[in-house]
Symmetry: C2
Subunit: 302 residues, 2 copies
Protein backbone atom coordinates (compact mmCIF):
# COMPACT_ATOMS: atom_id res chain seq x y z
CA UNK A 1 0.00 0.00 0.00
CA UNK A 2 1.49 3.29 -1.12
CA UNK A 3 0.24 6.85 -0.91
CA UNK A 4 1.65 9.49 -3.24
CA UNK A 5 0.95 12.91 -1.79
CA UNK A 6 0.50 15.26 -4.75
CA UNK A 7 -0.67 18.15 -2.60
CA UNK A 8 -1.57 18.56 1.05
CA UNK A 9 -1.97 22.26 1.77
CA UNK A 10 -5.12 24.26 2.39
CA UNK A 11 -6.64 26.69 -0.07
CA UNK A 12 -4.64 29.93 -0.09
CA UNK A 13 -1.87 29.45 -2.64
CA UNK A 14 1.83 29.84 -2.03
CA UNK A 15 4.53 29.66 -4.67
CA UNK A 16 5.46 26.07 -4.01
CA UNK A 17 2.56 24.34 -2.28
CA UNK A 18 -0.28 22.37 -3.81
CA UNK A 19 -3.88 21.88 -2.73
CA UNK A 20 -5.23 18.46 -1.79
CA UNK A 21 -4.69 15.47 -4.06
CA UNK A 22 -3.19 12.05 -3.52
CA UNK A 23 -2.91 8.69 -5.21
CA UNK A 24 -3.49 5.52 -3.23
CA UNK A 25 -1.95 2.38 -4.68
CA UNK A 26 -3.79 -0.67 -3.37
CA UNK A 27 -4.14 -4.12 -4.96
CA UNK A 28 -2.98 -2.89 -8.34
CA UNK A 29 -5.38 0.05 -8.33
CA UNK A 30 -4.36 3.71 -8.48
CA UNK A 31 -7.14 5.62 -6.74
CA UNK A 32 -7.00 9.39 -7.10
CA UNK A 33 -8.38 11.10 -4.01
CA UNK A 34 -9.31 14.76 -4.44
CA UNK A 35 -7.98 16.80 -7.31
CA UNK A 36 -7.05 20.39 -6.42
CA UNK A 37 -5.82 22.86 -9.01
CA UNK A 38 -2.55 21.70 -10.59
CA UNK A 39 -3.09 17.98 -9.93
CA UNK A 40 -2.35 17.00 -13.52
CA UNK A 41 1.04 18.69 -13.37
CA UNK A 42 1.73 17.05 -10.01
CA UNK A 43 0.89 13.66 -11.54
CA UNK A 44 3.47 14.35 -14.24
CA UNK A 45 6.09 15.47 -11.73
CA UNK A 46 5.52 12.38 -9.63
CA UNK A 47 5.68 10.18 -12.74
CA UNK A 48 2.26 8.62 -12.26
CA UNK A 49 0.85 7.36 -15.52
CA UNK A 50 -2.44 9.05 -16.33
CA UNK A 51 -3.83 5.83 -17.78
CA UNK A 52 -3.54 4.07 -14.40
CA UNK A 53 -6.26 6.29 -12.95
CA UNK A 54 -9.71 4.79 -13.35
CA UNK A 55 -11.48 6.01 -10.20
CA UNK A 56 -11.45 9.53 -8.79
CA UNK A 57 -12.94 10.29 -5.37
CA UNK A 58 -13.83 13.90 -4.55
CA UNK A 59 -14.47 14.66 -0.89
CA UNK A 60 -16.31 17.97 -1.28
CA UNK A 61 -16.85 20.88 -3.63
CA UNK A 62 -14.45 23.40 -2.14
CA UNK A 63 -12.05 24.51 -4.84
CA UNK A 64 -8.85 23.31 -3.20
CA UNK A 65 -10.21 19.75 -3.48
CA UNK A 66 -11.52 19.63 -7.05
CA UNK A 67 -10.62 22.62 -9.26
CA UNK A 68 -8.03 20.46 -11.02
CA UNK A 69 -10.59 17.84 -12.05
CA UNK A 70 -11.91 19.47 -15.22
CA UNK A 71 -8.37 20.02 -16.48
CA UNK A 72 -7.44 16.41 -15.84
CA UNK A 73 -10.58 15.16 -17.60
CA UNK A 74 -9.81 17.44 -20.57
CA UNK A 75 -6.25 16.16 -20.70
CA UNK A 76 -7.43 12.54 -20.70
CA UNK A 77 -9.32 13.49 -23.84
CA UNK A 78 -6.29 15.12 -25.46
CA UNK A 79 -4.34 11.96 -24.72
CA UNK A 80 -6.99 9.90 -26.54
CA UNK A 81 -8.02 7.93 -23.49
CA UNK A 82 -10.46 5.16 -24.25
CA UNK A 83 -11.01 3.44 -20.90
CA UNK A 84 -13.82 4.30 -18.52
CA UNK A 85 -13.33 6.96 -15.88
CA UNK A 86 -15.44 6.85 -12.72
CA UNK A 87 -15.86 10.01 -10.68
CA UNK A 88 -17.39 9.82 -7.20
CA UNK A 89 -18.33 13.11 -5.56
CA UNK A 90 -21.08 15.32 -4.17
CA UNK A 91 -24.16 16.07 -6.21
CA UNK A 92 -23.41 18.96 -8.56
CA UNK A 93 -20.04 17.69 -9.72
CA UNK A 94 -21.49 16.29 -12.93
CA UNK A 95 -23.09 19.60 -13.88
CA UNK A 96 -19.85 21.51 -13.21
CA UNK A 97 -17.71 19.24 -15.36
CA UNK A 98 -20.15 18.66 -18.20
CA UNK A 99 -21.04 22.37 -18.49
CA UNK A 100 -17.39 23.20 -19.04
CA UNK A 101 -16.83 20.41 -21.56
CA UNK A 102 -19.95 21.48 -23.42
CA UNK A 103 -18.92 25.14 -23.63
CA UNK A 104 -15.46 24.10 -24.82
CA UNK A 105 -17.16 22.08 -27.54
CA UNK A 106 -15.20 19.04 -26.44
CA UNK A 107 -17.03 16.04 -25.15
CA UNK A 108 -14.85 13.13 -24.03
CA UNK A 109 -14.09 10.22 -26.32
CA UNK A 110 -14.10 7.81 -23.35
CA UNK A 111 -16.95 6.82 -21.01
CA UNK A 112 -17.12 9.35 -18.18
CA UNK A 113 -19.29 7.97 -15.40
CA UNK A 114 -20.38 10.12 -12.49
CA UNK A 115 -21.49 8.67 -9.17
CA UNK A 116 -23.09 11.58 -7.37
CA UNK A 117 -23.32 11.33 -3.60
CA UNK A 118 -26.00 12.73 -1.32
CA UNK A 119 -26.25 10.19 1.50
CA UNK A 120 -25.27 11.14 5.03
CA UNK A 121 -24.70 7.48 5.92
CA UNK A 122 -21.68 5.38 4.97
CA UNK A 123 -22.13 4.04 1.46
CA UNK A 124 -20.36 1.36 -0.58
CA UNK A 125 -18.90 3.01 -3.69
CA UNK A 126 -16.80 0.29 -5.27
CA UNK A 127 -16.03 -3.34 -4.61
CA UNK A 128 -14.18 -6.20 -6.24
CA UNK A 129 -12.76 -9.47 -4.91
CA UNK A 130 -9.70 -7.73 -3.47
CA UNK A 131 -11.01 -4.54 -1.86
CA UNK A 132 -13.90 -2.22 -1.15
CA UNK A 133 -14.33 1.56 -0.98
CA UNK A 134 -16.93 3.17 1.27
CA UNK A 135 -17.71 6.74 2.29
CA UNK A 136 -16.97 8.20 5.71
CA UNK A 137 -19.52 11.01 6.26
CA UNK A 138 -17.65 14.06 7.57
CA UNK A 139 -18.79 17.34 9.11
CA UNK A 140 -17.54 20.40 7.25
CA UNK A 141 -19.05 23.63 5.93
CA UNK A 142 -20.45 21.84 2.88
CA UNK A 143 -21.51 18.22 2.23
CA UNK A 144 -18.32 16.18 2.61
CA UNK A 145 -17.23 12.55 2.59
CA UNK A 146 -14.03 10.86 3.57
CA UNK A 147 -13.22 7.52 1.97
CA UNK A 148 -12.32 4.16 3.47
CA UNK A 149 -10.29 1.79 1.29
CA UNK A 150 -10.22 -1.71 2.73
CA UNK A 151 -8.44 -4.78 1.40
CA UNK A 152 -10.31 -8.05 1.73
CA UNK A 153 -8.72 -10.98 3.51
CA UNK A 154 -6.47 -12.62 0.93
CA UNK A 155 -5.94 -16.29 0.10
CA UNK A 156 -4.10 -18.47 2.62
CA UNK A 157 -0.42 -18.74 1.83
CA UNK A 158 0.52 -22.13 0.37
CA UNK A 159 3.58 -23.77 1.99
CA UNK A 160 4.76 -25.49 -1.14
CA UNK A 161 7.36 -27.72 0.59
CA UNK A 162 4.77 -28.99 3.05
CA UNK A 163 2.23 -29.61 0.28
CA UNK A 164 4.79 -31.75 -1.55
CA UNK A 165 5.76 -33.54 1.66
CA UNK A 166 2.08 -34.49 2.18
CA UNK A 167 1.82 -35.61 -1.48
CA UNK A 168 -0.95 -33.22 -2.47
CA UNK A 169 -1.62 -32.93 -6.20
CA UNK A 170 -1.09 -29.39 -7.57
CA UNK A 171 -4.65 -29.30 -8.93
CA UNK A 172 -5.76 -28.95 -5.30
CA UNK A 173 -3.55 -25.94 -4.50
CA UNK A 174 -6.34 -23.44 -5.15
CA UNK A 175 -8.58 -25.32 -2.70
CA UNK A 176 -5.79 -25.10 -0.12
CA UNK A 177 -5.43 -21.35 -0.69
CA UNK A 178 -9.18 -21.04 -0.20
CA UNK A 179 -8.77 -22.67 3.23
CA UNK A 180 -10.18 -26.10 2.48
CA UNK A 181 -8.90 -29.46 3.74
CA UNK A 182 -7.92 -31.73 0.84
CA UNK A 183 -7.04 -35.38 0.22
CA UNK A 184 -3.46 -36.45 -0.48
CA UNK A 185 -2.64 -38.75 -3.42
CA UNK A 186 -3.09 -41.75 -1.07
CA UNK A 187 -6.62 -40.59 -0.11
CA UNK A 188 -5.68 -39.36 3.36
CA UNK A 189 -7.44 -36.14 4.50
CA UNK A 190 -4.95 -33.34 5.18
CA UNK A 191 -5.97 -30.50 7.50
CA UNK A 192 -5.51 -27.15 5.77
CA UNK A 193 -3.41 -25.54 8.52
CA UNK A 194 -0.71 -28.20 8.04
CA UNK A 195 0.16 -26.96 4.53
CA UNK A 196 -0.82 -23.28 4.56
CA UNK A 197 -0.11 -20.16 6.62
CA UNK A 198 -2.24 -17.15 7.45
CA UNK A 199 -2.33 -14.55 4.68
CA UNK A 200 -0.80 -11.14 5.39
CA UNK A 201 -3.34 -9.06 7.32
CA UNK A 202 -5.47 -6.92 4.98
CA UNK A 203 -4.55 -3.24 4.93
CA UNK A 204 -6.88 -0.32 5.09
CA UNK A 205 -6.66 3.41 4.48
CA UNK A 206 -9.03 6.10 5.71
CA UNK A 207 -8.92 9.55 4.11
CA UNK A 208 -10.64 12.18 6.28
CA UNK A 209 -10.45 15.72 4.93
CA UNK A 210 -11.90 18.28 5.43
CA UNK A 211 -13.56 17.81 8.81
CA UNK A 212 -14.15 19.34 12.15
CA UNK A 213 -13.12 17.22 15.17
CA UNK A 214 -15.83 14.55 15.19
CA UNK A 215 -15.75 11.38 17.32
CA UNK A 216 -18.64 9.95 15.32
CA UNK A 217 -16.17 8.79 12.67
CA UNK A 218 -14.23 6.67 15.20
CA UNK A 219 -16.24 3.44 14.79
CA UNK A 220 -15.99 3.72 11.01
CA UNK A 221 -12.21 3.93 10.95
CA UNK A 222 -11.35 1.71 13.92
CA UNK A 223 -8.03 -0.15 13.55
CA UNK A 224 -7.25 1.07 10.06
CA UNK A 225 -3.66 0.65 8.95
CA UNK A 226 -3.30 4.33 8.07
CA UNK A 227 -5.51 7.30 8.77
CA UNK A 228 -5.05 10.55 6.84
CA UNK A 229 -6.74 13.18 8.99
CA UNK A 230 -6.71 16.85 8.20
CA UNK A 231 -4.90 19.21 10.57
CA UNK A 232 -5.41 22.68 9.21
CA UNK A 233 -4.34 24.39 12.42
CA UNK A 234 -1.93 24.21 15.34
CA UNK A 235 -3.02 24.62 18.97
CA UNK A 236 -2.29 28.33 18.85
CA UNK A 237 -5.03 28.87 16.26
CA UNK A 238 -7.39 26.38 17.90
CA UNK A 239 -10.15 28.97 18.16
CA UNK A 240 -10.30 29.02 14.33
CA UNK A 241 -10.86 25.28 13.96
CA UNK A 242 -14.47 24.94 15.06
CA UNK A 243 -15.95 27.96 13.24
CA UNK A 244 -14.21 26.99 9.97
CA UNK A 245 -15.05 23.30 10.57
CA UNK A 246 -11.43 22.22 10.48
CA UNK A 247 -9.22 20.33 12.95
CA UNK A 248 -5.98 20.89 14.80
CA UNK A 249 -3.06 18.45 14.81
CA UNK A 250 -3.94 17.45 18.38
CA UNK A 251 -7.55 16.80 17.46
CA UNK A 252 -6.43 14.61 14.55
CA UNK A 253 -4.20 12.70 16.99
CA UNK A 254 -7.11 12.25 19.42
CA UNK A 255 -9.19 10.66 16.68
CA UNK A 256 -6.25 8.38 15.78
CA UNK A 257 -5.91 7.34 19.42
CA UNK A 258 -9.63 6.74 19.95
CA UNK A 259 -9.83 4.71 16.74
CA UNK A 260 -6.66 2.77 17.61
CA UNK A 261 -5.25 3.17 14.13
CA UNK A 262 -1.72 2.03 13.32
CA UNK A 263 -0.39 5.19 11.69
CA UNK A 264 -1.65 8.77 11.50
CA UNK A 265 -0.83 10.89 8.46
CA UNK A 266 -1.34 14.63 8.91
CA UNK A 267 -2.06 17.11 6.11
CA UNK A 268 -4.17 20.01 4.85
CA UNK A 269 -1.95 22.51 6.64
CA UNK A 270 -2.97 26.15 6.52
CA UNK A 271 -0.46 28.00 4.36
CA UNK A 272 0.03 30.50 7.18
CA UNK A 273 2.62 28.11 8.64
CA UNK A 274 6.01 28.36 6.97
CA UNK A 275 7.23 25.20 8.71
CA UNK A 276 5.15 22.08 9.37
CA UNK A 277 7.33 20.33 12.00
CA UNK A 278 5.20 21.71 14.81
CA UNK A 279 2.22 19.66 13.57
CA UNK A 280 4.10 16.44 14.32
CA UNK A 281 5.33 17.69 17.69
CA UNK A 282 1.81 18.58 18.83
CA UNK A 283 0.23 15.37 17.50
CA UNK A 284 2.87 13.11 19.06
CA UNK A 285 1.93 14.36 22.50
CA UNK A 286 -1.25 12.32 22.05
CA UNK A 287 -0.50 9.61 19.48
CA UNK A 288 2.95 8.11 18.87
CA UNK A 289 3.09 7.15 15.20
CA UNK A 290 2.70 10.27 13.11
CA UNK A 291 3.77 10.88 9.50
CA UNK A 292 3.67 14.37 8.04
CA UNK A 293 2.30 14.44 4.51
CA UNK A 294 4.16 16.76 2.17
CA UNK A 295 3.85 17.53 -1.53
CA UNK A 296 5.69 14.93 -3.59
CA UNK A 297 6.15 12.56 -0.62
CA UNK A 298 5.65 8.85 -1.17
CA UNK A 299 4.36 7.08 1.92
CA UNK A 300 4.73 3.30 1.96
CA UNK A 301 2.59 1.65 4.62
CA UNK A 302 3.88 -1.79 5.68
CA UNK B 1 4.71 48.70 -21.09
CA UNK B 2 5.61 45.37 -19.59
CA UNK B 3 4.31 41.87 -20.21
CA UNK B 4 4.76 39.17 -17.58
CA UNK B 5 4.38 35.79 -19.20
CA UNK B 6 2.91 33.48 -16.56
CA UNK B 7 2.33 30.62 -18.99
CA UNK B 8 2.63 30.24 -22.75
CA UNK B 9 2.31 26.56 -23.58
CA UNK B 10 -0.57 24.71 -25.21
CA UNK B 11 -2.91 22.39 -23.38
CA UNK B 12 -1.19 19.05 -22.75
CA UNK B 13 0.63 19.41 -19.43
CA UNK B 14 4.31 18.83 -18.83
CA UNK B 15 6.04 18.91 -15.46
CA UNK B 16 7.30 22.44 -15.77
CA UNK B 17 5.19 24.31 -18.31
CA UNK B 18 2.12 26.42 -17.75
CA UNK B 19 -0.92 27.07 -19.94
CA UNK B 20 -1.73 30.55 -21.23
CA UNK B 21 -1.79 33.51 -18.88
CA UNK B 22 -0.03 36.85 -18.89
CA UNK B 23 -0.15 40.21 -17.17
CA UNK B 24 0.11 43.39 -19.20
CA UNK B 25 1.26 46.47 -17.31
CA UNK B 26 0.11 49.60 -19.11
CA UNK B 27 -0.56 53.06 -17.70
CA UNK B 28 -0.63 51.82 -14.11
CA UNK B 29 -3.05 48.99 -14.92
CA UNK B 30 -2.31 45.29 -14.48
CA UNK B 31 -4.48 43.51 -17.04
CA UNK B 32 -4.65 39.73 -16.67
CA UNK B 33 -5.04 38.08 -20.07
CA UNK B 34 -6.24 34.46 -19.99
CA UNK B 35 -6.01 32.38 -16.86
CA UNK B 36 -5.02 28.75 -17.45
CA UNK B 37 -4.82 26.24 -14.60
CA UNK B 38 -2.16 27.25 -12.08
CA UNK B 39 -2.28 30.99 -12.83
CA UNK B 40 -2.69 31.94 -9.17
CA UNK B 41 0.49 30.10 -8.26
CA UNK B 42 2.31 31.68 -11.21
CA UNK B 43 1.18 35.11 -9.99
CA UNK B 44 2.74 34.32 -6.62
CA UNK B 45 5.97 33.05 -8.16
CA UNK B 46 6.24 36.15 -10.30
CA UNK B 47 5.51 38.36 -7.28
CA UNK B 48 2.50 40.10 -8.82
CA UNK B 49 0.17 41.46 -6.18
CA UNK B 50 -3.29 39.93 -6.50
CA UNK B 51 -4.89 43.23 -5.52
CA UNK B 52 -3.46 44.96 -8.62
CA UNK B 53 -5.66 42.84 -10.88
CA UNK B 54 -8.99 44.51 -11.60
CA UNK B 55 -9.70 43.37 -15.15
CA UNK B 56 -9.39 39.83 -16.51
CA UNK B 57 -9.77 39.12 -20.22
CA UNK B 58 -10.52 35.56 -21.33
CA UNK B 59 -9.99 34.80 -25.02
CA UNK B 60 -12.03 31.59 -25.25
CA UNK B 61 -13.43 28.72 -23.23
CA UNK B 62 -10.80 26.07 -23.89
CA UNK B 63 -9.45 24.87 -20.58
CA UNK B 64 -5.84 25.90 -21.09
CA UNK B 65 -7.05 29.52 -21.24
CA UNK B 66 -9.42 29.73 -18.28
CA UNK B 67 -9.41 26.71 -15.92
CA UNK B 68 -7.42 28.77 -13.41
CA UNK B 69 -10.06 31.51 -13.24
CA UNK B 70 -12.39 29.97 -10.67
CA UNK B 71 -9.48 29.25 -8.33
CA UNK B 72 -8.21 32.81 -8.61
CA UNK B 73 -11.68 34.24 -7.95
CA UNK B 74 -12.01 31.95 -4.90
CA UNK B 75 -8.62 33.05 -3.62
CA UNK B 76 -9.56 36.73 -3.97
CA UNK B 77 -12.40 35.89 -1.62
CA UNK B 78 -10.13 34.12 0.88
CA UNK B 79 -7.88 37.19 0.84
CA UNK B 80 -10.88 39.39 1.72
CA UNK B 81 -10.77 41.38 -1.48
CA UNK B 82 -13.21 44.28 -1.52
CA UNK B 83 -12.56 46.00 -4.84
CA UNK B 84 -14.50 45.24 -8.01
CA UNK B 85 -13.32 42.55 -10.37
CA UNK B 86 -14.30 42.73 -14.04
CA UNK B 87 -14.21 39.59 -16.14
CA UNK B 88 -14.54 39.83 -19.93
CA UNK B 89 -15.05 36.58 -21.82
CA UNK B 90 -17.33 34.49 -24.03
CA UNK B 91 -20.93 33.91 -23.08
CA UNK B 92 -21.11 30.99 -20.65
CA UNK B 93 -18.24 32.11 -18.45
CA UNK B 94 -20.57 33.62 -15.88
CA UNK B 95 -22.54 30.39 -15.50
CA UNK B 96 -19.35 28.32 -15.12
CA UNK B 97 -17.91 30.49 -12.37
CA UNK B 98 -21.11 31.22 -10.47
CA UNK B 99 -22.21 27.56 -10.50
CA UNK B 100 -18.98 26.55 -8.81
CA UNK B 101 -19.11 29.33 -6.23
CA UNK B 102 -22.72 28.43 -5.48
CA UNK B 103 -21.99 24.73 -4.98
CA UNK B 104 -19.04 25.60 -2.73
CA UNK B 105 -21.42 27.73 -0.68
CA UNK B 106 -19.06 30.65 -1.06
CA UNK B 107 -20.24 33.74 -2.85
CA UNK B 108 -17.68 36.52 -3.20
CA UNK B 109 -17.55 39.42 -0.78
CA UNK B 110 -16.47 41.79 -3.56
CA UNK B 111 -18.38 42.91 -6.68
CA UNK B 112 -17.76 40.36 -9.44
CA UNK B 113 -18.87 41.83 -12.75
CA UNK B 114 -19.07 39.72 -15.87
CA UNK B 115 -18.98 41.19 -19.36
CA UNK B 116 -20.07 38.34 -21.60
CA UNK B 117 -19.07 38.58 -25.25
CA UNK B 118 -20.95 37.31 -28.28
CA UNK B 119 -20.16 39.82 -31.03
CA UNK B 120 -18.15 38.80 -34.05
CA UNK B 121 -17.13 42.41 -34.68
CA UNK B 122 -14.47 44.37 -32.78
CA UNK B 123 -15.95 45.76 -29.61
CA UNK B 124 -14.81 48.36 -27.08
CA UNK B 125 -14.50 46.67 -23.67
CA UNK B 126 -12.88 49.31 -21.49
CA UNK B 127 -11.76 52.90 -21.84
CA UNK B 128 -10.39 55.65 -19.69
CA UNK B 129 -8.46 58.85 -20.44
CA UNK B 130 -5.19 56.94 -20.86
CA UNK B 131 -6.07 53.81 -22.84
CA UNK B 132 -8.70 51.62 -24.45
CA UNK B 133 -9.23 47.88 -24.77
CA UNK B 134 -11.05 46.38 -27.76
CA UNK B 135 -11.64 42.85 -28.98
CA UNK B 136 -9.92 41.33 -32.01
CA UNK B 137 -12.29 38.64 -33.35
CA UNK B 138 -10.27 35.49 -34.04
CA UNK B 139 -11.00 32.27 -35.89
CA UNK B 140 -10.57 29.16 -33.74
CA UNK B 141 -12.58 26.02 -33.00
CA UNK B 142 -14.81 27.90 -30.56
CA UNK B 143 -15.83 31.56 -30.26
CA UNK B 144 -12.59 33.44 -29.55
CA UNK B 145 -11.39 37.02 -29.16
CA UNK B 146 -7.95 38.53 -29.06
CA UNK B 147 -7.53 41.84 -27.25
CA UNK B 148 -6.03 45.15 -28.35
CA UNK B 149 -4.70 47.45 -25.63
CA UNK B 150 -3.98 50.91 -26.95
CA UNK B 151 -2.59 53.90 -25.08
CA UNK B 152 -4.07 57.26 -25.99
CA UNK B 153 -1.86 60.07 -27.17
CA UNK B 154 -0.48 61.66 -24.01
CA UNK B 155 -0.04 65.32 -23.07
CA UNK B 156 2.63 67.37 -24.86
CA UNK B 157 5.85 67.48 -22.91
CA UNK B 158 6.43 70.88 -21.27
CA UNK B 159 9.93 72.33 -21.80
CA UNK B 160 10.14 74.09 -18.48
CA UNK B 161 13.26 76.16 -19.28
CA UNK B 162 11.66 77.48 -22.45
CA UNK B 163 8.39 78.29 -20.68
CA UNK B 164 10.32 80.36 -18.12
CA UNK B 165 12.37 82.01 -20.83
CA UNK B 166 9.13 83.14 -22.54
CA UNK B 167 7.73 84.36 -19.19
CA UNK B 168 4.67 82.09 -19.14
CA UNK B 169 2.80 81.92 -15.84
CA UNK B 170 2.71 78.41 -14.34
CA UNK B 171 -1.10 78.50 -14.20
CA UNK B 172 -0.98 78.10 -18.01
CA UNK B 173 1.21 75.02 -18.02
CA UNK B 174 -1.77 72.63 -18.28
CA UNK B 175 -2.98 74.53 -21.33
CA UNK B 176 0.45 74.13 -22.87
CA UNK B 177 0.44 70.39 -22.18
CA UNK B 178 -2.97 70.23 -23.85
CA UNK B 179 -1.38 71.75 -27.00
CA UNK B 180 -2.82 75.28 -26.75
CA UNK B 181 -1.01 78.52 -27.54
CA UNK B 182 -0.92 80.86 -24.52
CA UNK B 183 -0.09 84.45 -23.68
CA UNK B 184 3.12 85.38 -21.87
CA UNK B 185 3.07 87.71 -18.84
CA UNK B 186 3.52 90.67 -21.24
CA UNK B 187 0.46 89.64 -23.27
CA UNK B 188 2.39 88.31 -26.26
CA UNK B 189 0.94 85.12 -27.86
CA UNK B 190 3.39 82.20 -27.67
CA UNK B 191 3.03 79.36 -30.16
CA UNK B 192 2.73 76.03 -28.35
CA UNK B 193 5.55 74.28 -30.26
CA UNK B 194 8.07 76.83 -28.95
CA UNK B 195 7.70 75.65 -25.35
CA UNK B 196 6.58 71.98 -25.65
CA UNK B 197 7.77 68.81 -27.35
CA UNK B 198 5.87 65.88 -28.80
CA UNK B 199 4.76 63.33 -26.21
CA UNK B 200 6.23 59.84 -26.40
CA UNK B 201 4.35 57.85 -29.04
CA UNK B 202 1.49 55.85 -27.51
CA UNK B 203 2.16 52.14 -27.19
CA UNK B 204 -0.15 49.34 -28.11
CA UNK B 205 -0.33 45.59 -27.50
CA UNK B 206 -2.31 43.01 -29.44
CA UNK B 207 -2.89 39.58 -27.93
CA UNK B 208 -3.95 37.04 -30.56
CA UNK B 209 -4.38 33.50 -29.24
CA UNK B 210 -5.72 31.02 -30.20
CA UNK B 211 -6.17 31.54 -33.93
CA UNK B 212 -5.73 30.00 -37.30
CA UNK B 213 -3.71 32.06 -39.82
CA UNK B 214 -6.13 34.84 -40.67
CA UNK B 215 -5.22 37.99 -42.65
CA UNK B 216 -8.51 39.58 -41.66
CA UNK B 217 -6.97 40.64 -38.35
CA UNK B 218 -4.23 42.64 -40.11
CA UNK B 219 -6.11 45.98 -40.34
CA UNK B 220 -7.09 45.71 -36.68
CA UNK B 221 -3.52 45.31 -35.42
CA UNK B 222 -1.66 47.45 -37.94
CA UNK B 223 1.47 49.15 -36.51
CA UNK B 224 1.02 47.91 -32.95
CA UNK B 225 4.08 48.16 -30.75
CA UNK B 226 3.96 44.49 -29.83
CA UNK B 227 1.93 41.61 -31.23
CA UNK B 228 1.60 38.36 -29.27
CA UNK B 229 0.56 35.81 -31.89
CA UNK B 230 0.15 32.15 -31.14
CA UNK B 231 2.52 29.70 -32.83
CA UNK B 232 1.42 26.27 -31.74
CA UNK B 233 3.37 24.47 -34.45
CA UNK B 234 6.59 24.51 -36.44
CA UNK B 235 6.70 24.12 -40.23
CA UNK B 236 7.18 20.38 -39.92
CA UNK B 237 3.71 20.00 -38.33
CA UNK B 238 2.13 22.60 -40.64
CA UNK B 239 -0.53 20.14 -41.77
CA UNK B 240 -1.91 20.15 -38.20
CA UNK B 241 -2.36 23.91 -38.01
CA UNK B 242 -5.39 24.42 -40.21
CA UNK B 243 -7.54 21.50 -38.97
CA UNK B 244 -6.88 22.40 -35.32
CA UNK B 245 -7.30 26.13 -36.12
CA UNK B 246 -3.85 27.02 -34.87
CA UNK B 247 -0.88 28.76 -36.49
CA UNK B 248 2.77 28.03 -37.20
CA UNK B 249 5.64 30.33 -36.25
CA UNK B 250 6.00 31.35 -39.92
CA UNK B 251 2.32 32.18 -40.18
CA UNK B 252 2.56 34.34 -37.07
CA UNK B 253 5.54 36.10 -38.64
CA UNK B 254 3.60 36.67 -41.87
CA UNK B 255 0.83 38.38 -39.92
CA UNK B 256 3.43 40.52 -38.11
CA UNK B 257 4.97 41.51 -41.43
CA UNK B 258 1.66 42.31 -43.13
CA UNK B 259 0.53 44.37 -40.13
CA UNK B 260 3.92 46.13 -39.93
CA UNK B 261 4.11 45.68 -36.19
CA UNK B 262 7.25 46.66 -34.28
CA UNK B 263 7.83 43.44 -32.32
CA UNK B 264 6.40 39.94 -32.58
CA UNK B 265 6.10 37.80 -29.46
CA UNK B 266 5.57 34.09 -30.06
CA UNK B 267 3.86 31.69 -27.67
CA UNK B 268 1.31 28.88 -27.18
CA UNK B 269 3.87 26.28 -28.19
CA UNK B 270 2.68 22.69 -28.43
CA UNK B 271 4.28 20.74 -25.60
CA UNK B 272 5.53 18.18 -28.15
CA UNK B 273 8.55 20.45 -28.66
CA UNK B 274 11.21 20.04 -25.99
CA UNK B 275 13.08 23.13 -27.23
CA UNK B 276 11.47 26.33 -28.49
CA UNK B 277 14.46 27.94 -30.27
CA UNK B 278 13.28 26.66 -33.65
CA UNK B 279 10.17 28.87 -33.39
CA UNK B 280 12.34 31.97 -33.47
CA UNK B 281 14.52 30.65 -36.29
CA UNK B 282 11.52 29.92 -38.50
CA UNK B 283 9.75 33.21 -37.73
CA UNK B 284 12.87 35.31 -38.33
CA UNK B 285 13.02 34.08 -41.90
CA UNK B 286 9.98 36.28 -42.47
CA UNK B 287 9.98 38.97 -39.79
CA UNK B 288 13.14 40.30 -38.08
CA UNK B 289 12.13 41.28 -34.56
CA UNK B 290 10.95 38.21 -32.72
CA UNK B 291 10.77 37.58 -28.97
CA UNK B 292 10.04 34.10 -27.63
CA UNK B 293 7.61 34.13 -24.72
CA UNK B 294 8.52 31.74 -21.94
CA UNK B 295 6.99 31.03 -18.55
CA UNK B 296 8.19 33.53 -15.99
CA UNK B 297 9.69 35.86 -18.63
CA UNK B 298 9.23 39.60 -18.24
CA UNK B 299 9.11 41.41 -21.56
CA UNK B 300 9.64 45.16 -21.46
CA UNK B 301 8.58 46.90 -24.65
CA UNK B 302 10.28 50.26 -25.20
Amino acid sequence: MKINILGCYAATPRSFTNPTSQVLEMQNHHFLIDCGEGTQVQLRRNKIKFSRIKHIFISHLHGDHFYGLVGLVSTFRLLNRETELHIYGPKGIKEIITLQLKLANSWTNFPLIFHELTSKDPQLLYENDKLSVTTIPLKHRVYTNGFLFREKKGDRKLLIDKAEEYNIHYSLFNSLKAGKDVRAEDGKLIANHLVTADPPPPKSYAFCSDTVYDVEIVPLIRNVTALYHESTFLEEQMELAFPTKHSTAKQAASIAKLAEVQTLILGHYSTRYANIDQFRIEAEEIFPKVILADDGKEIIVE
